[in-house]
């Protein structure tokens, strides 16, 4: 039995996710879309906190909300005039999008609700502490993630170089 507080929190968070997701893809002003995305990302971070993954929630806020969103905003400001609205969607395109997304929703939702047994409550589990996480990242044994960590490092390096190369003025 969860506390009433967490249920209220859940309600707020899920509503935020749903509403701002929808808004993010339907608004015609691109800067607003980025802002709505920000809210969604924040709500996601809250979900992580609710599920006892504080580190992940922190990463989500720092990297996504803090880093990526800033990039978006810069890019948007660089490439479009403020206040400029994109042209309205053609009905054909909207129909395509709707077909795909509604079908997705239908098929996945149906299989989630009708065919899968996900109606159990969250089992008790300890919040993984930072030490545990750090050891796991840098260990090479079972449940060790050194290799992906290094791979990600190299990837990030490549991205940095790539970003510089691509964006540099000729």
């Amino acid at each position: 039995m969860d506390s009433v507080g967490s249920i209220i929190l859940y309600t707020i968070v899920s509503l935020t996710i749903v509403i701002f997701s929808v808004l993010a893809v339907t608004t015609r002003k691109i800067l607003r879309a980025a802002t709505y995305l920000l809210f969604t990302l924040f709500a996601t971070a809250v979900v992580y906190f609710m599920l006892d993954y504080q580190f992940l929630g922190a990463v989500q806020i720092a990297v996504y909300a803090g880093g990526i969103l800033v990039l978006f905003v810069f890019a948007i400001l660089l490439t479009s005039h403020p206040g400029h609205s994109s042209e309205p969607l053609t009905s054909k395109r909207r129909a395509l999008g709707l077909i795909a997304s509604v079908l997705m929703l239908g098929v996945t939702g149906y299989s989630l609700l009708a065919r899968c047994n996900f109606f159990n409550a969250a089992p008790e589990a300890a919040n993984p502490d930072m030490q545990q996480i750090g050891t796991a990242i840098l260990s090479t044994g079972d449940n060790g993630y050194l290799l992906p960590f290094e791979a990600i490092s190299v990837l990030l390096l490549a991205c940095i170089i790539g970003g510089i190369v691509v964006a540099r003025k000729r």
Binding site: G97, I99, A100, L103, M104, V107, Y110, S111, R115
Partner: protein
């Protein structure tokens, strides 16, 4: 007899053809002409040697007096199967020896004559090369040992005739005429070829000697097979005769011969009067023992001949181009020979009247070659003098060209059948044979003979009539010596050739035989001929309104005769309207639009389809995502619904 002489008879003209054909361009006209004459002269001497040896050397006569058919040499040329072998060889027998004489004589005279006639013409060397080629082919044809050899040379004479008719190749009419001649004879040769195929299938041989010696077995070999009501042998013989009809210009395949007069006149004399056109007669004569087996085949030969003879004589009465008249007279005379062969058999595998018809046919072939060559060469001299083929451009020529006139007259008398000229004797034999076969045929042929006399003298009187057109300062004159010699020589031959005891040399069974003139037939035909000549003299010698009146009295008949009974128009209609426009064009259209269209439409459909499919690969990621998602969801949905 050694093989050297016979081989040389064939080899010299061939060599001359190659020499003049390849190196002729570099030669002067004189050199080429004299080389040609020299070559032909040598051949003439050799051929006479061979022929006379054959006739008079006892070596070639059996105990019974029968002349022996001798194969001098026979070289395998192409072996289809064990039995069906084409050989090139040299068969010496009475008719081939006769033809050797005829061909080489006329050919040599024409070579000589052309020195004058063709003087200064462009392509003089080419002309002599073609003449040599023709002589070679014709000699090869008559000495053929098997029917396929004959077919080979048959085609070769056709080709050389094509080349010579089209000698003046810059003239449209000459080109058209040569084409027509080749194609019409080609069509006939198709029949000949199929006939050979049918005959050889049953007899399993091409060889003349095998076919004609005791030929009863040929009939047996067909085992009584019939096709569409006629026996297979009849079919074969009729088809082979079709080939002969084409070459010998029998109705309805005669249309090429009048047009062939577009060629130089000496060529007409050589090819289209004396030698090539009698090849059909020669073919039937060569196969005569086989023809004896089938009454219906000989019947067809006789009937075709009789109809053609009459038809050609009628047309000849109305032509104004002197060479055309001679051409139709040739057709008519060859038809005489055909009739004569046709009436030589009574259809029981036996001959009637001692094979008189056969002998008469060959005799007429010989005499006709001489007097018709004479007439053509005479006509050539006239044309040479007045530069026109049209009798209206002539007149009063006897004053300027006495030699030509007298020799032409001899020719006319000979063809009209007035004794003692050669034509009388041979034609009389033919009439006898015809009467013996059926009185109706006799009367019919006598009428044709009368018509012959009429149109020939019509021609004669029109050419040498009193009133003369204005020749200007360029008065006609007798031809130069090279042209004169052949005229005089042939006239002399036409005077005396009738007295040759022909039955001693050429008969159907090669047994010597004495000719008897039937006085009644002789008298009646001569009387009829003289009447016809008188009529012609009355109508044409001086200005006389009778011809006009007759023309106006029977306009339709005259019109049809004048237009040769519209045969050419009929053929034009069939070939151009029906075959060309009705078959070829639709087929070509069909090919381009239906067949090719189908192939193209395969390509077009593929192309269209690719254009339909290609936009799916638009490069728009969003589209890809959409398609991918839909596909994945469908798969996933199905999985969910069915499996889980």
């Amino acid at each position: 007899m050694g093989i050297t002489l016979p081989l040389l008879i064939l080899a010299i003209p061939l060599f001359m053809f190659l020499l003049l054909g390849i190196a002729g361009v570099k030669m002067s006209h004189k050199l080429a002409g004299w080389l040609g004459c020299l070559g032909m002269g040598t051949t003439l001497v050799l051929a006479y040697t061979v022929a006379l040896t054959y006739y008079f050397c006892p070596e070639f006569t059996a105990e019974t007096g029968e002349r022996i058919q001798t194969i001098v040499f026979n070289q395998t040329w192409l072996a289809f199967t064990q039995n069906l072998v084409i050989s090139l060889g040299f068969l010496l027998d009475p008719i081939s020896a006769l033809m050797l004489i005829v061909i080489t004589t006329i050919s040599f005279l024409v070579h000589l004559y052309s020195l004058g006639y063709m003087e200064g013409e462009k392509g003089f060397q080419r002309y002599y090369a073609f003449l040599s080629l023709f002589s070679f082919s014709m000699l090869g044809l008559v000495v053929a040992t098997n029917i396929f050899q004959m077919y080979i040379f048959w085609e070769l004479v056709g080709a050389s005739s094509y080349l010579l008719i089209g000698f003046y190749y810059t003239k449209h009419s000459a080109v058209a005429a040569s084409k027509k001649a080749f194609i019409v004879t080609r069509f006939a040769d198709l029949g000949f070829l199929i006939g050979i195929l049918v005959l050889s299938y049953y007899s399993q041989t091409f060889d003349f000697l095998k076919l004609t010696t005791d030929s009863q077995w040929v009939l047996a070999s067909t085992q009584g097979a019939t096709f569409m009501g006629a026996s297979v042998l009849t079919w074969a013989l009729v088809l082979i005769f079709t080939g002969g009809m084409g070459k010998s210009a029998m109705m309805p395949l005669h249309i090429w011969l009048p047009d062939a007069m577009e060629g130089p006149t000496p060529v007409s004399a050589l090819i289209h009067a004396a030698t090539m056109v009698v090849a059909g007669v020669f073919l039937v004569a060569r196969m005569f023992p086989v023809y004896l087996l089938e009454e219906s085949a000989t019947m067809i030969v006789a009937v075709v001949g009789a109809v053609t003879a009459f038809y050609a004589a009628m047309v000849a009465c109305t032509q104004i181009d002197i060479k055309r008249v001679l051409a139709f007279s040739t057709i008519s005379q060859i038809a005489f020979m055909m009739v004569s062969l046709g009436v030589a058999s009574n259809g029981n595998g036996d001959v009637c009247h001692h094979g008189l018809g056969y002998m008469a046919s060959m005799f007429h072939m010989f005499t006709h070659a001489m007097f018709k060559a004479l007439l053509f060469l005479g006509a050539g001299a006239l044309i040479h003098a007045v530069h026109s083929n049209d009798y209206t451009a002539m007149g009063g020529l006897s004053r300027y060209m006495p030699v030509t006139r007298w020799t032409f007259l001899i020719g006319c008398l000979a063809i009209a059948g007035i004794p003692p000229f050669s034509g009388f004797f041979s034609k009389d034999e033919i009439l006898s044979a015809a009467y013996a076969w059926s009185p109706f045929m006799g009367v019919w042929m006598t009428i044709v003979a009368a018509m012959t006399a009429f149109y020939m003298f019509r021609l004669y009187f029109l050419i040498f009539r009193w009133d003369e057109p204005d020749y200007g300062h360029h008065t006609p004159h007798d031809p130069p010596l090279p042209m004169m010699i052949p005229l005089v020589f042939l006239a002399a031959v036409s005077c005396v050739a009738g007295f040759i005891p022909f039955g001693h040399f050429v008969t159907w069974n090669r047994m010597p035989y004495d000719i008897h003139l039937d006085p009644w037939i002789a008298c009646s035909s001569v009387a009829v001929a003289i009447c016809a000549i008188c009529l012609a003299a009355y109508m044409y010698r001086t200005k006389n309104p009778l011809p006009e009146k007759m023309k106006n009295a029977m306009p339709v008949l005259w019109d049809w005769c004048h237009h040769r009974f519209y045969w050419d128009e009929l053929y034009m209609f069939i070939t151009h309207k029906i075959i060309f426009n009705g078959v070829c064009r639709p087929l070509a259209w069909f090919d381009r639009h239906i067949i090719d269209g189908t192939m193209d439409s395969f390509a077009a459909v593929t192309n269209k389809l690719s254009r339909v499919i290609a936009p799916l690969q638009s490069g728009q990621v969003q589209m890809y995502v959409f398609v991918y998602i839909i596909g994945a969801l469908l798969l996933g949905g199905i999985t969910v619904l069915c499996l889980i």
